[in-house]
């Protein structure tokens, strides 16, 4: 039986388009020191460090974990770097949790970051390969045809993408760490924003952010001594699949469905819509809210958009999604997955501030990456599993 494990400390930076006030190391320290303070421990108490970020080409710095070894407190301790494309933040949290669950370490720090302003992620995502033609500009160019596929299959109205874009930005106004603070956002403003990759509009897209997130995880005997509430890890799950094969369902990949089934089985959840109180889902383009409601088996196939339409996913709905403002409001890519996991943990600790869902006891954190081919998820709870 795995060691019962909890999140005992969480920290994040103020996310912004450009954090030129800090170096990459400074950005990480900002999040990590907040996590340590929250966990009421010091660098000396940390047994191992796990660091995650998106592809090196996003900043043009090869293996930044080498020069960041001291900044993350890795010196003379085990240190690992994780990479699973856009889902990397989630996977970083899962690797850290696994080290405690396996009984290898007592207290592990995980840190994930991106300093997007230091280079050009869209350029890095638009490299042409010798066996294919350069057609795609950035992640939006890749996902737009898939979103169109979802709209065709589900009959999802155009308003849904707009509705999610507004909802998440309004939630972000309650989150002082969120990058975008669009106090005057309206559906009309989203509708009037430029169409970038039809059907994705500018305001239906995530921003490009600098930011970091950190968490301290600890085994039960340490976690139960904490003076603040902790988030108990009920289950973690990951899946991957090839980017391309004949007959692959790119809109609703098998990996997401397998991942969801296994996660709920491990967490003892039979009806996710009822048993989970809120979810923080990786939604880089607004249409992915309904898509992943289906991909996480929270909604029936082709019906996910009805959850958005009915207001169920709003902060005061029966299944709040992206209470923090989500990826649509802050997107330091490497950290984005860990921020989803952290928000789920903050919710069940009752420490989410103005965007707290009243009485949240069980929450889902979710990240995906690559060509919808990596999925990382966890369920955390205010009570032990």
């Amino acid at each position: 039986m795995a060691e019962l494990t909890a999140v005992i400390g969480i920290g994040q930076t103020k996310h912004a388009a450009k954090r030129i006030d800090v170096s990459m190391a400074g950005l990480i320290r900002e999040a990590a020191e907040r996590a340590l303070a929250d966990a009421e421990c010091t660098w000396a108490d940390i047994d191992a460090v796990v660091i995650g970020k998106a592809p090196d080409m996003f900043e043009g710095v090869m293996m930044p974990e080498l020069f960041l070894n001291d900044a993350v407190g890795g010196a003379y301790k085990p240190m690992l770097r994780v990479h699973t494309a856009g889902s990397v933040g989630g996977s970083t949290g899962i690797v850290a949790a696994s080290l405690v669950q396996a009984g290898i370490h007592d207290r592990v720090l995980c840190v994930a970051f991106e300093k997007q302003s230091e280079s050009n992620a869209t350029w890095a995502l638009s490299i042409s390969m010798p066996f294919s033609v350069a057609t795609v500009v950035g992640a939006g160019g890749y996902f737009a045809p898939l979103i169109r596929g979802y709209i065709r299959r589900s009959g999802c109205p155009e308003e849904i993408g707009i509705q999610v874009a507004v909802k998440d930005r309004l939630n972000a106004l309650k989150n002082p760490y969120a990058h975008l603070q669009l106090a005057d956002i309206t559906p009309q403003m989203v509708r009037d924003s430029p169409m970038l990759w039809d059907p994705i509009r500018y305001l239906e897209t995530c921003p490009s952010s600098d930011g970091a997130c950190a968490m301290v995880m600890a085994k039960e005997s340490i976690a139960k001594r904490a003076s603040k509430p902790v988030a108990w890890i009920h289950a973690t799950e990951m899946r991957s699949e090839p980017t391309m094969f004949s007959g692959r369902d790119q809109v609703m990949p098998r990996a997401t469905l397998d991942n969801a089934k296994s996660l709920y089985e491990k967490a003892g959840i039979t009806n996710p819509r009822k048993e989970i109180d809120c979810a923080e889902i990786y939604v880089p383009f607004s249409w992915y809210e309904p898509m992943w409601m289906e991909g996480m088996l929270i909604s029936d196939t082709n019906q996910g958009w009805k959850m958005t339409e009915s207001g169920a996913t709003a902060l005061d709905g029966d299944f709040p999604v992206n209470m923090s403002g989500g990826v649509l409001s802050s997107n330091p890519i490497g950290a984005s997955g860990l921020l989803r996991f952290a928000e789920a943990a903050l919710q069940v600790r009752g420490m989410a501030g103005e965007h707290q869902v009243d009485g949240a006891k069980k929450a889902l954190g979710h990240a995906y990456g690559g060509g919808s081919q990596y999925f990382s998820t966890w369920i955390v709870g205010s009570e032990k599993p």
Partner: protein
């Protein structure tokens, strides 16, 4: 590395620009070698999976789903196909020979069971799923061993393919 001298300036140095440039050598291997060699002759060669018989184009030499080599006789494909899904792009990229806005498509070539990502030159208001399209090649004398011998796809005067015939590709 830039050989520019830093400008003398009052106040703190906040950011520096350090350009990085990289060229790499692609080892084509048997499969891409055959594909690119055929492209130089204006032919599109796919490869069939021995497990389920599906035809991959472009093929990377193995089936990602079954983990087996695609080493049977190559299958010659038409340069015509059906648009499975698409996007209209309104932000610029280098190397794309079309003016903004342009259309990116996932085309199922006749005889293939995979989608090919490419460009479509057409009136952007006319593009739709099921549209029949054909490759527009560079002039023959400019052909090289490159996928870029096909500049883009163009609509052709054929009735739309029925949704059921391509829906598994969207």
């Amino acid at each position: 590395m830039s050989d520019k001298k830093p400008e003398e300036k009052e106040g703190p140095v906040q950011v520096l620009q350090t350009p990085v440039r990289l060229e790499y050598v692609f080892s084509a291997g048997q499969s891409a070698s055959r594909l690119l060699g055929a492209m130089a002759k204006g032919k599109l060669l796919g490869q069939r999976c021995p497990v389920d018989g599906r035809v991959y184009f472009p093929s990377r030499g193995s089936c990602p789903q079954h983990g087996v080599p695609l080493d049977g006789a190559p299958v010659e494909l038409a340069d015509k196909g059906t648009v499975a899904t698409y996007s209209i792009v309104r932000i610029p990229i280098e190397k794309v020979p079309l003016e903004l806005p342009y259309v990116t498509v996932q085309v199922v070539l006749d005889g293939a069971d995979t989608v090919l990502m490419h460009l479509l030159k057409c009136d952007v208001d006319k593009v739709h799923m099921g549209m029949r399209v054909q490759a527009k090649w560079k002039p023959r004398e400019e052909w090289t061993s490159s996928v870029e011998n096909i500049l883009y796809f163009e609509p052709i005067d054929e009735p739309d393919a029925p949704y059921d015939s391509f829906k598994e590709h969207i």
